[in-house]
């Protein structure tokens, strides 16, 4: 999904149909009205889906929740808390990753994971 140039709504519809969900069935599973979902798919709403709904949609579609939430113009729900837990460090860390390639960010993530596994994390 990364790098999809499609608008969020069109992308959501494509993935929904690939899974064999009708508009009404998918709306039911998300707990929204078919009219609202249809408007989201047509790009006729200012804010496509809440982070929670985009996360749920990603789970139903077998997509990456972080990426779908971002495509919806939202921030994954757990991020604000993580940022606020270390306000002096995390924003700086995020800024430091600006301009890095996905591969470079992947290496950083692997390193962080190793540090957590080795018990270096606080």
């Amino acid at each position: 999904m990364a790098g999809s140039n499609k608008p969020f709504g069109a992308y959501l519809r494509e993935k929904r149909l690939a899974k064999g969900y009708s508009l009404r069935r998918f709306a039911e599973l998300l707990g929204v009205s078919p009219t609202y979902l249809s408007h989201v798919e047509q790009g006729k709403v200012d804010s496509p889906l809440t982070a929670k709904l985009a996360h749920r949609a990603a789970e139903l579609l077998g997509e990456s929740p972080d990426e779908l939430v971002s495509m919806a113009g939202r921030v994954p729900e757990d991020l604000p808390k993580i940022i606020q837990s270390q306000p002096g460090a995390i924003p700086g860390l995020l800024r430091a990753t600006k301009g890095l390639t996905p591969e470079q960010i992947g290496k950083l993530m692997d390193r962080a994971k190793r540090m957590q596994d080795e018990g270096d994390a606080p």
């Binding site: 519809r13 064999g20 508009l23 709306a27 039911e28 009205s33 009219t35 249809s38 408007h39 047509q42």
Partner: protein, 234 residues
């Protein structure tokens, strides 16, 4: 503003052909892996997944300045739009009408698209989609709309499925006669006999997710509902 079908010359299509085509569509969908077919017949999936028609819900009444439009279909862009007044999430009692409208548009797609020729002068209307091939209204029923309604009835209530459901419900195939049913309270603007029959139909209508009116019409056509006791010589 009056919107009508852009197709006027569709030939007479025998009901037997319409029924056969509706049954064939269900049969095609049933071939998909891990698929079991209703009741209710999965008309939403037939339209979007099987036929790959795009489904949108929109405020057609405001958009097209037409106060009784239910659905529209564009053949070239494979697009169906349903008026939001039928949204069953907002109006659960209209689920049957929502599904019937979808089935009706499927009927246009299956029966009428071969007769459609786009008028080049109108191709750029409506965001470049051109003029809709059919604008389906509750107040207008030219022959093509009757054909699409007939298709919808056969699609949502196929004979085989109806007979099996009736057998299970009643335990026999004896017709039910109007006079044997309890009387119903009058409903403004409705025929009393229709209301009485439709109240009887309600459990089956709920099972098939159609309106009681659509179910009453189908059961009468199948001969399971009679308005008068049949005349028998012996």
């Amino acid at each position: 503003m009056t919107w009508r079908s852009t197709i006027n010359e569709v030939p007479f299509i025998p009901e037997s052909r319409i029924e056969k085509d509706a049954d064939a569509l269900i049969g095609e969908y049933a071939l998909r892996p891990n698929t079991s077919i209703g009741p209710p017949v999965p008309v939403d999936e037939l339209l979007e997944v099987q036929l790959e028609l795009q489904c949108e819900i929109a405020d057609l009444r405001a958009e097209f300045e037409c106060d009784d439009v239910l659905g529209m279909i564009w053949f070239n862009s494979k697009l169906v739009k349903i008026d939001r007044s039928l949204d069953p999430h907002e109006r659960p009692h209209l689920l049957g009408r929502f599904r019937f409208t979808l089935a009706h548009e499927v009927g246009h797609w299956r029966l009428h698209r071969q007769y459609y020729r786009e008028d080049p002068s109108q191709a750029r209307l409506f965001d470049g989609k051109g003029r809709p091939a059919f604008v389906c209204r509750s107040s207008e029923k030219p022959p093509v709309e009757w054909q699409a309604d007939t298709f919808a009835s056969y699609l949502l209530m196929p004979a085989k499925m109806m007979i099996a459901a009736w057998d299970k419900w009643k335990g026999n195939r004896d017709p039910v006669i109007l006079q044997t049913l309890p009387s119903a309270a009058p409903v403004a603007g409705r025929d009393m006999d229709d209301v009485r029959l439709e109240r009887f139909c309600k459990p089956l209508a709920e099972q098939f997710e159609v309106s009681s009116e659509a179910m009453r019409i189908r059961l009468e056509k199948l001969g399971f509902l009679l308005r008068e006791a049949p005349n028998t010589l012996f």
